[in-house]
């Protein structure tokens, strides 16, 4: 089945998942205790005069029947109209579009780097199983895997920004600076360097451990013995037979991380005051800006869904047995 036919036949399933996620997003604030006014207008109803309350309720459409509210909500979602952040007084759709590129920059770069490094180190450790280099890297990775991200981020700020003064410690660009294109690029890269470094280092262990284990189990397979019996060199056996098979389960791990990368950026973006979606969530949570939280959660859900679609498309390319 080609990728297009695949998307068409699976499209229905993806659409159902998306519709359920969007509907949950509608239902949840209405299930919470108290008036949805608190969630939808950002104020405690008790602080308002009855007239103000009436006005807000009709403005938010809460006086309409539930079914009308539901369809109105769908219309808003489809037109990317999530209302206005009452803290920042800005359209939420615009806010998300403004923040999204920064998050994409640091999370996708970190995911790419950590995948490449994790896979390479995982294969090498498995190939040298039980030797010193394997034992050292395995233990390092387990230690890294249990390192809290905020701690490592703050350590890097202290080292690279405060002590050495090499890299900026917060923000995505130098505020107010008018820079030529190349200098602007360098400025952005310098600001992104520490968040990317932290995210990369913390993502490597999971990929490393999966790849190492997967490589070890492939190395025990009968077809590796066949490849050796053909007279191939170790490098040929490793690159053509071991890695090609061992990468299959790792691809699932990477695709899942792609989906959850946005959520994982909350702590890092907060530590580095990086103006991405993660920091937006943090700000929204601290100021109880419910409409913003609701909209960003929807974006996170869509990210997980997109990552799953990518994994579904990628898997048959890596493993012909899953092609139908």
């Amino acid at each position: 089945m080609g990728p297009w036919r695949f998307l068409i036949s699976r499209g229905g399933q993806y659409a159902i998942v998306l519709a359920v996620a969007i509907s949950l997003n509608f239902v949840l604030p209405r299930l919470m205790p108290g008036s949805p006014l608190a969630l939808l207008a950002g104020v405690e109803p008790s602080e308002l005069t009855p007239e103000e309350r009436e006005e807000l309720i009709s403005e938010a459409g809460l006086d309409q029947p539930m079914i009308v509210q539901y369809f109105r909500y769908w219309g808003n979602v489809l037109t990317f109209n999530f209302g206005t952040s009452f803290r920042m007084n800005e359209a939420i759709g615009d806010l998300i579009l403004e923040r999204l590129p920064w998050t994409l920059l640091i999370t996708m770069t970190a995911l790419l780097l950590s995948s490449l490094i994790g896979i390479a180190l995982g294969v090498l450790a498995a190939w040298r199983r039980g030797r010193a280099s394997d034992v050292v890297s395995l233990n390092t990775m387990i230690a890294l895997d249990s390192t809290p991200s905020f701690w490592l981020g703050m350590l890097f700020v202290a080292l690279f920004s405060v002590t050495l003064g090499w890299l900026p410690s917060y923000g995505a660009v130098t505020p107010g600076a008018q820079l030529a294109p190349w200098d602007a690029f360098v400025d952005i890269a310098a600001h992104a360097a520490l968040p990317i470094l932290t995210l990369t280092i913390l993502s490597i262990p999971g990929i490393f451990l999966t790849m190492r284990y997967s490589t070890l189990s492939v190395m025990g397979e009968d077809f590796i013995r066949t490849a050796q019996a053909k007279g191939l060199t170790n490098t040929q056996v490793l690159s053509r037979h071991v890695v090609r098979n061992a990468i299959v389960p790792v691809s699932t791990v990477i695709a899942l991380r792609l989906g959850f990368a946005f959520g994982g950026s909350v702590v890092i973006e907060t530590v580095f005051s990086y103006p991405g979606l993660g920091r937006l969530v943090f700000e929204a949570v601290s100021s109880r800006d419910y409409p913003v939280m609701q909209a960003t959660f929807l974006v996170f859900t869509i990210a997980v869904l997109v990552a799953n679609i990518l994994a579904d498309l990628l898997y048959p390319r890596l493993d012909p047995r899953t092609r139908t």
Binding site: T226, A229, R244, V248, L318, P320, T324
Partner: protein, 619 residues
């Protein structure tokens, strides 16, 4: 169509040919945490050029370790001493590059399980090409065209198209042909076949044996055949080396070893092997026709929905199609057929483990299909199962006593001391030392494990024991013991047995009656004297004809059956066997569905041409 492998070498080559491989005083030991394990102890083997040399032995004999030593593919912790000379060149302690130049280019290998021995994510063509380029570079004609030619040479139809396919798209027999094409790709002078037909159906095994013989004869290759199966060895070998516990026990020409074995171990091997030309063994008496049958199956159909594309919709696969079978109290029925014939599905359906679409199953008079959950578990107490691989069908974390008495725990709530006593009783029943009750499965041998599996199945005193390939994973000497145990248990306990096996000689040694299945249908059923003495259905005859006889003076007639069974997704119309049947008549066999018809009172056959004199001549 497939090329028949008719031109088989029958004459032995010159006796004094030069040695292709000389192994002298070879020892291999493995360093483990619990001391050294000596796998091979001072082995001498001489393989003459251009001959087929069989190395025979049971598991742990060191036969495979020896051959891995020849290829330099032993694990790093192996300690190797002695000498292995290939055409005079020393291979022990040779440099890695020198060994690589021998592997594939000089010595090609085919392994036991072709599915796991082929890389699942590479096309078969790419894997064949790789064998060529590893030694000759891309220049010397290593092309897809050459890969397709090789596939055609080993008898794969539509090779041009199939060269771009992946291993999982081939059937078991076709995969082994791919392995052979791959082993031949770099044109080696020696071919090592390590249990190369053990995982295949008997009909496919016959085809592969013939193919290897034709190809090695055409190319004047030397073949080293590693096998536990004396039937196979008798059919193809010029010389034989018998190994046991890492040592050579006996060596000689194939004819001498089979005609006059000298060593006790060789004699025991030959005697314990079940064979079709031995006198029929006496079986425990079964109950006479009166009384309730242990099993009564009527018109059983087990079918699965198979998901297809959007437009084609779902298809129904009838794994078991309209099957009726009765098993009397104290009777053993053997169920035979190629893989995919529905044997195991049928057996599982008896225990209520498969969804029945149609028909009835009665166990000791009780309806399985009509039984509700509670009474279904009561019914299952009456029918217990013994599986092929005892090591994977037991929880490795439980002790033998816990394994054997778990059914009691679930069903009877016997006290702990009662269960302990019962465990000892059951172990004695299967001729095991009750002291073993505290051990865990990994501390037992394969035969002991299968005895534990039988003890577990017997713990609830069932009236039916379903044994799915009960001895296939065991060495022949152990096989004989387990079959003897089953016969004795039947005589003592009066239990009925349904034994599934791909090995017809095993069935002949244990079953009162035999049912032959093909693509979900029973094509012939009758007393063992009838099935083995005067088989009527062309498929039964083909199956029996494909069993290698352990006698080098009776080598195969031309291959009895070509090709693989068709997919159960689209069974051929009419008689399902007609597409492979040597006696099929177009216009009759592809239009009329044959039904089981009484040939004698105890022998039913489903063949449109049953009774025609020509049928006998053509099959």
């Amino acid at each position: 169509m497939l090329k028949p492998e008719a031109d088989v070498r029958t004459t032995a080559p010159a006796a004094d040919g030069p040695a292709a491989l000389e192994i002298r005083d070879l020892s291999v030991s493995f360093r483990t945490s619990s001391g050294d394990v000596d796998a091979v102890r001072g082995v001498d083997i001489t393989v003459r050029s251009g001959t087929t040399h069989a190395i025979v032995g049971e598991s742990g004999s060191g036969k495979s370790v020896t051959m891995m030593g020849v290829l330099g593919l032993l694990p790093e912790e192996a300690q190797v001493s002695g000498s292995i000379r290939y055409l005079g060149k020393e291979l022990v302690d040779a440099a890695p590059a020198e060994l690589r130049a021998v592997r594939g280019a000089e010595i090609g290998v085919i392994f036991q399980d072709p599915l796991s021995s082929l890389n699942p994510v590479m096309t078969v063509g790419a894997q064949i090409l790789e064998s060529m380029t590893a030694h000759r570079g891309t220049a010397a004609g290593a092309t897809w065209k050459r890969a397709a030619e090789l596939l055609a040479e080993v008898g794969i139809p539509e090779a041009e198209r199939r060269v771009k396919e992946y291993p999982h798209q081939f059937s078991g027999g076709m995969r082994q042909r791919v392995m052979i094409a791959m082993a031949l790709a770099a044109e080696p002078r020696v071919l090592i076949a390590d249990e190369a037909t053990t995982a295949l159906d008997v009909t496919v095994q016959a085809q592969i044996l013939r193919l290897v013989q034709r190809i090695t004869a055409e190319r004047s290759m030397t073949t080293i055949w590693i096998s536990h199966d004396l039937g196979v060895v008798a059919q193809i070998a010029d010389d034989i080396t018998v190994m046991q516990s890492g040592r050579v026990v006996e060596r000689g020409s194939c004819h001498d070893i089979f005609a006059a074995p000298r060593e006790a171990y060789t004699i025991a091997l030959l005697e314990s092997m079940p064979r079709l030309d031995a006198p029929l063994r006496e079986l425990p008496p079964r109950a006479t026709a009166t009384g309730t049958a242990a099993v009564d199956v009527r018109d059983l159909e087990v079918a699965y929905q198979v998901k297809r594309g959007l437009r084609t919709g779902n298809r129904l696969v009838r794994a078991v199609d309209d099957v009726s079978l009765e098993i009397a109290a104290g009777e053993t029925v053997g169920l035979v057929g190629e893989s995919g014939s529905g044997k195991s599905t049928f057996a599982r359906a008896l225990l209520g483990l498969e969804p029945m679409r149609h028909g009835t199953v009665h166990l000791a008079g009780q309806d399985v299909a009509g039984a509700r959950r509670a009474s279904l578990s009561a019914l299952r107490r009456n029918a217990q199962m013994v599986f092929q691989d005892p090591s994977s069908s037991m929880n490795p974390g439980l002790s033998v006593q816990e394994i054997v008495t778990e059914p009691l725990l679930i069903n009877h709530r016997m006290s702990a001391s009662g269960r302990r006593a019962r465990a000892a009783e059951l172990l004695e029943l299967v001729e095991l030392d009750p002291q073993l009750a505290r051990r865990h499965p990994h501390q037992l041998s394969g035969g002991q494990r299968q005895r534990v599996a039988i003890a577990r199945a017997l713990s609830l005193e069932p009236s039916l024991l379903v044994c799915d390939e009960p001895v296939s994973a065991l060495d022949v000497t152990v096989q004989t013991q387990i079959l003897g145990l089953l016969r004795r248990l039947q005589a003592d306990l009066g239990v009925s047995l349904l034994v599934i096996s791909h090995d017809l000689a095993v069935i002949r040694d244990i079953a009162h009656r035999v049912a032959v299945m093909y693509l979900g249908k029973i094509v012939e059923v009758g007393d063992r004297e009838a099935i083995f003495g005067s088989p009527q259905h062309p498929y039964t005859r083909a199956l029996l004809g494909a069993v290698p006889t352990p006698d080098p003076t009776k080598r195969f007639p031309p291959t009895p059956l070509q090709g693989d069974p068709p997919s159960p997704l689209s069974p051929p119309p009419g008689c399902r066997f007609h597409s492979r049947c040597p006696a099929a008549v177009i216009g009759r066999c592809d239009t009329t569905v044959p039904t089981l018809t009484a040939w004698t009172p105890t022998h039913d056959v489903a063949c449109v041409r049953l009774g025609e004199p020509e049928l006998t001549r053509q099959t």
